[in-house]
Subunit: 143 residues, 2 copies
């Protein structure tokens, strides 16, 4: 459904949401350990997100990655679309090209409501929303 890369990206962004600000940028090497993602791999992912303006970054001393207020207000699905592309998440469970509401595959009815609900959540919930949950002890971001 979502790739390992997207999972890592989400973890990274949530970490930034919790610990960074325009005034307090964070380097990859200080993010990778607490979220348990290989440094070079995380770097690549954050670079991609930065290029797509989903997170912010500056280089040089005092530089690093961070989230602007605008970044924070974006829905989670932007992250997975940025990393996995639009298709992956919407693909049929059996990966059938022809599967849709009109010609559903045998599993379509079993999965469709669940997946729609999940995608809806990803579109509605912002990065900030989830970060707040973590801050309030409602959810956890361990290794």
């Amino acid at each position: 459904m979502i790739s390992t890369s997207s999972k890592y990206a989400i973890k990274g962004v949530l970490f930034l949401a919790m610990h960074s600000s325009e005034a307090k940028k964070i380097m990859v090497k200080d993010i990778c350990t607490p979220i348990n993602v290989p440094q070079a791999y995380l770097a690549k992912l954050l670079q991609e997100l930065s290029r797509q303006k989903i997170i912010s970054s500056t280089r040089g001393p005092k530089g690093g990655f961070y989230l602007s207020d605008e970044n924070r207000s974006q829905p989670l699905i932007k992250i997975v679309h940025a990393i996995d592309g639009q298709r992956r998440m919407n693909a049929c469970v059996l990966s059938l090209k022809t599967c849709d509401e009109n010609r559903p595959c045998p599993l379509h009815k079993l999965v469709s409501p669940a997946k729609k609900q999940f995608i809806k959540s990803l579109k509605e919930k912002t990065i900030e929303n989830l970060a707040n949950n973590i801050a309030n002890g409602i959810s956890f971001l361990p290794l």
Copy 2:
């Protein structure tokens, strides 16, 4: 969530459910084309399912794969457990070892109800159920 192998296996089994019987066994080479799965790959998967008694088979002339009545009455989840193992399907969205109801990851609440519902369906619906849907034009099994 479920692997390509499981998808292929499900397609294969549903094809057998529709076209085979104890009296009418079918060879892999006659299954792979209509469901659009590479022959040798499908063979391997069906062999595994056969070994785990999820489908039936006999070798030699007039042999092939088929579904007994008992086979048909089994829930779908058996197929995916046989191919992917028990863990994969139940794993956390972010692949966090420590994620559970007590210490949910940030995405847990967004995904959990959807996934539970899907797994429940896989446990309830039998191979026969889905085959009937296909037979009745409610769902479709194309390439």
